[in-house]
């Protein structure tokens, strides 16, 4: 290696060193530490014996883990729905529908409200004597006024509705960003060639913002696995039973409630990390194929 090349290499290594250091300290160390602790019986104090894979085996043997995992997958329903609604909103804004400036702010409003506040609002709305049931009673359908948060299907439905509601604005803005990057002349020439709204949407718009949809999809799936804690905490507290408990909420419950089973909580966190990583890789492969096909 010549002196010049060596110098270049040294400078580049020094250049990336701070970023690598930050990553190691704030990402690699916590992840490594969680993996290590997942192999112990750590109780948050001095009990910290190595127990191998016992935490994992215990978790896989429990019913609540599988139920919780199933809940996470059911919650996925929110992802396509929020993307589709976000896309529709972004198209309406892009087409500058009358009042679009007002609606742009209005749609984004839920995003700036704290997730816990949104959760409590939904819990109040769907409580037995809440506005939703009052409306149903007023509309002459008292039989439909039920304990929404007392049964699994309806309680999950309420959580999913809250997730969609809070994310429409974010999805709309994201998609609008994607749409704005498309050269307007593409749409104009399509219009001149006689392409109708649906043809423009399915043959031009969607393929051209494929990467934005891909990003949104991957992010939303990962978020559904890791970011639902404030909603579950404030709407259902994971109940009834484990009916609405998600994996991230379970990690919290194991770590900070019950017996402070921090070793078990770490094992759950590692499982969560593995699931999200596998899903993300799978989605990227799938969307790479779809995008290369559209290109």
């Amino acid at each position: 290696m010549t002196d010049r090349k060596r110098k270049e290499l040294t400078i580049s290594l020094l250049g990336i060193a701070p970023a690598v250091l930050v990553l190691l300290v704030f990402r690699a160390y916590p992840i490594g530490s969680v993996i290590w602790n997942s192999l112990t019986n750590w109780d948050g104090l001095f009990k910290h014996d190595f127990i191998g894979l016992r935490n994992y085996l215990r978790i896989f043997r429990t019913d609540y883990f599988w139920k919780t995992l199933a809940n996470c997958f059911i919650m996925f329903i929110n992802v396509p729905i929020q993307i589709v609604i976000g896309l529709v909103v972004s198209m309406l804004l892009y087409e500058k529908t009358p009042g679009w400036r007002f609606f742009r702010s209005l749609y984004y409003l839920p995003q700036i409200v704290s997730a816990v506040i949104v959760g409590y609002l939904f819990a109040i709305f769907f409580s037995y004597d809440g506005p939703v049931n009052e409306l149903l009673r007023f509309a002459g359908a008292p039989k439909l006024a039920i304990e929404w948060l007392g049964r699994r299907p309806t309680a999950i439905g309420v959580v999913i509705t809250a997730l969609i509601w809070i994310n429409i604005g974010w999805q709309g803005v994201l998609m609008l960003g994607g749409l704005s990057s498309i050269n307007p002349s593409v749409f104009e020439s399509a219009k001149m060639d006689g392409a109708n709204f649906f043809q423009r949407t399915f043959y031009i718009l969607l393929p051209m913002i494929g990467r934005v949809i891909e990003y949104s999809f991957i992010y939303s799936v990962a978020w559904t696995f890791t970011g639902l804690f404030p909603f579950i905490y404030s709407i259902t507290n994971g109940g009834p039973g484990y009916d609405t408990t998600t994996l991230d909420f379970l990690v919290y419950q194991k770590a900070f409630r019950e017996d402070s089973a921090l070793g078990e909580a770490c094992a759950l966190a590692v499982i969560l990390l593995a699931i999200v990583s596998v899903l993300t890789l799978f989605q990227r492969r799938l969307s790479d194929r779809a995008n290369s096909w559209s290109e």
Binding site: L45, S127, Y242
Partner: protein, 430 residues
Amino acid sequence: MAMKRFVLLLSILMIITSVSAIAQAKPVTLTFWCGSAYYNSDEAKKPQSEWAITKIVKQFEALNPGVTVDVTPIEVSSETIAKFKAAAIAKNGPDVIELWTGSYLFPLKDILVPLNKYISAEDRKNISGWDAVTYNFEKNGDILAYPIGNNYAGLVYNKALIKAAGMDWDKNPPKTSEDFRTALKKIKETGVVPFGFDGSKGRILHYATIYWWVEESGYERLVTNANGTTKYEDDKGFINLMTYMRSLYEDGLTNADAATSVDYDSKFSTGKYAVTVGGVNNAKAFEAALGPENFGFLPFPSMSARPKVKASIIGGAGNCVAIGNYSKNRDLAVKFVSFLSSKASFIALTKSVTTFPARTDVTLDDLGWTNDPFRQKIFELSKNFAFWVDNSIPAYQYDEMKRFFPNILTGRLSPQDFAKQMDKLVQDKK
């Protein structure tokens, strides 16, 4: 030469004396994480300087020049305990902290000072509830904290609604489970919700259900179920009780949203429920809302033909105050805790907090309750009470009960299946 030596020695002595004087005069700060046993929600709206506990702390500081107590209000919860653990490991936790007693306290043994040798004979004699803070309830075990305010619970009722149903519980209260069911049916006929449940908050479980379970099965059975020696599945008291509570829901004797309600207290306060559970801690609010003439307290009717525990209320020392074993001011911290638990401090605190003092030498007269029929009644009943079950069994088991109780009420899980589930949980933990 001798003179020189004498002067040198004198100088050294003077230096040592001044250094030690400086060291003694060095100000000391005690940190105190103080929970709701020392302040109430009304006080929390005022500046901390106006709280009763602040005034008590000031008295302690005045008696101990150079000592400052830094009071941090907290809410005692599982999350706070987790924070305390983290702080204790880092050795920067509080010197003194309010915690829960029993099975919540025992796992913290490794970070707390055993107080056996520090507790004065007078404190031992006059303070009640030492069992609840003695490691694993063992007879000569380590005492991990000072017990503080006692809460007691039973059933609370709206006298006007009971009267409207043609009953007078002051004169003729329901005494058995069937009396109670019949009374609830009479109330239902008047169009009022008879028994207000709060499935999601867990107070119905925490107070009533648990009391009735203890009454029928006894504490020994609770402990053996919890450690796996006996089975929940074979515990008739447990199954019967869950079945009884379920039947009340099924017969429409509770609110329709029994499994998810979070506002049972406000509904009781506004006259929508005739009966619910209540304790010393929330009686003040109920009394204020309904008026003293309409607020009634009913000891739990007996559910068992042959009760193993003969009491009529549940309660005891649920909270305590402990000292971190990393504290550099251990002796001073003990002195402070003892001061907090003194008769004078408790009497001063009782004017602001809702709990009863954990002392045996305090009279109704001392507390100014001679004209308060509710507190008089509880004071009398508190001589024989069933101790909190959640403080007696491991937290993970009680959490499981709390989690699935709404499902049992609504019939989505049978008491028998739940009992099996509890047994499986105990075995898994082993």
